[in-house]
Amino acid sequence: MIKTVESTETATVQKTVVYQECGVVVTYWSGGQIVGQETITSDQPDLQSCQNFQTGVKVALWAAGFWLS
């Protein structure tokens, strides 16, 4: 008689999400000269999220009534 012992191992894999700093520079112009600059950064998990963030800044500028060149 053969005795079979079944063993089940459960491995828990923790997914580590690495956040990277994502940024966009907003340059304000007047009379051909730079009069101000803002660097807006945020931690984002991947390139897609970073691009979404950058688009979000653009939308915020439009919403604030700025004239994007």
């Binding site: 966009v24 520079v25 907003v26 340059t27 304000y28 112009w29 007047s30 009379g31 051909g32 000269q33 730079i34 009069v35 101000g36 600059q37 803002e38 660097t39 807006i40 950064t41 945020s42 931690d43 963030f53 979000g56 800044v57 653009k58 915020a60 500028l61 919403a63 604030a64 009534g65 700025f66 004239w67 994007l68 060149s69």
Partner: protein, 257 residues
């Protein structure tokens, strides 16, 4: 012999101070934009006019967002008015025009004479004139100038002065903008120039107050964007609003001492 030399000097000086001099400078405003500045000198009066026509040389980098605060309006010409002072002046009075949003200003500025370091052996020919190199610190920026003793005026574009000849090239070190380079010099210019233009409609203001108005306006703009950013971004914002050659003013230096 001495009398002949004296007479020659008087004649040469008389010739230069009776004539109207016009220097056309290429003015590099930023890494992407240029314009022209026209400097006129006659009978100790100096007027420099920065043109309103801005030439865009190339687009900004794709990772930057450009916001035009002129809202499509054509920029105004900028005037810089001053007088030559034959005495050893410690400072010179300048009056210049500028806009902040829709407000137009006529600004009074007392510019301390820069302490120039002249490098006699460093020469360059600009617009047909042999020029000498000089360096100084101008309001927090290291600048290098080339001036010519052949045009004995202590003047230059913008608010630059203090050398024994006219400045034909001046630029902020290690920058690809804030550059003024003479393209042409006419020592017998015939154009009619109002050396003391009246700006009756503009608000008269001191430089210190003007800087405060300008920076308060930019802070409002920065705040407007911050308010419009979605809060879930947890965005960090750093700002900077001093991009010109004037990085630090006299009253700020006194405060930091």
């Amino acid at each position: 012999m001495k009398k002949i030399l004296l007479l020659s000097s008087i004649l040469i000086c008389g010739f230069y101070f009776a004539q109207q001099v016009h220097v056309k400078y290429l003015r590099v405003l930023s890494s992407f934009t240029t314009t022209h500045e026209d400097l006129y000198i006659k009978n100790n009066q100096v007027l420099s006019i920065q043109d309103s026509i801005i030439i865009n040389n190339k687009l900004t980098d794709s990772w930057t967002l450009g916001v035009n605060l002129d809202n499509g309006k054509k920029p105004a010409k900028q005037y810089f008015v001053s007088d030559l002072d034959k005495n050893n002046e410690a400072e010179r009075n300048f009056f210049f025009t500028s806009n902040v949003d829709s407000r137009e200003f006529f600004i009074y500025d007392k510019v301390p004479q820069p302490k120039w370091n002249i490098e006699e052996k460093e020469t360059k020919t600009i617009a047909g004139y042999k020029c000498q190199k000089a360096t100084t610190m101008f309001r927090g920026s290291k600048v290098t100038a080339y001036f010519t003793k052949d045009l004995p005026y202590s003047a230059g574009p913008f608010k630059f002065y203090g050398l024994s000849g006219l400045i034909l090239d001046i630029r902020v070190d290690n920058k690809d903008y804030d550059i003024w380079k003479a393209e042409s010099v006419d020592v017998n210019d015939k154009s009619t120039i109002a050396f003391k233009p009246q700006f009756l409609k503009k608000e008269k203001i001191s430089l210190k107050d003007y800087v405060a108005v300008k920076e308060a306006h930019m802070n409002k703009i920065f705040a407007k964007l911050s308010d419009a950013l979605p809060k879930n971004y947890k965005a960090r914002v750093t700002t900077n609003q001093r991009f010109s050659v004037e990085q630090k003013y006299e009253w700020e230096e006194k405060l930091s001492e």
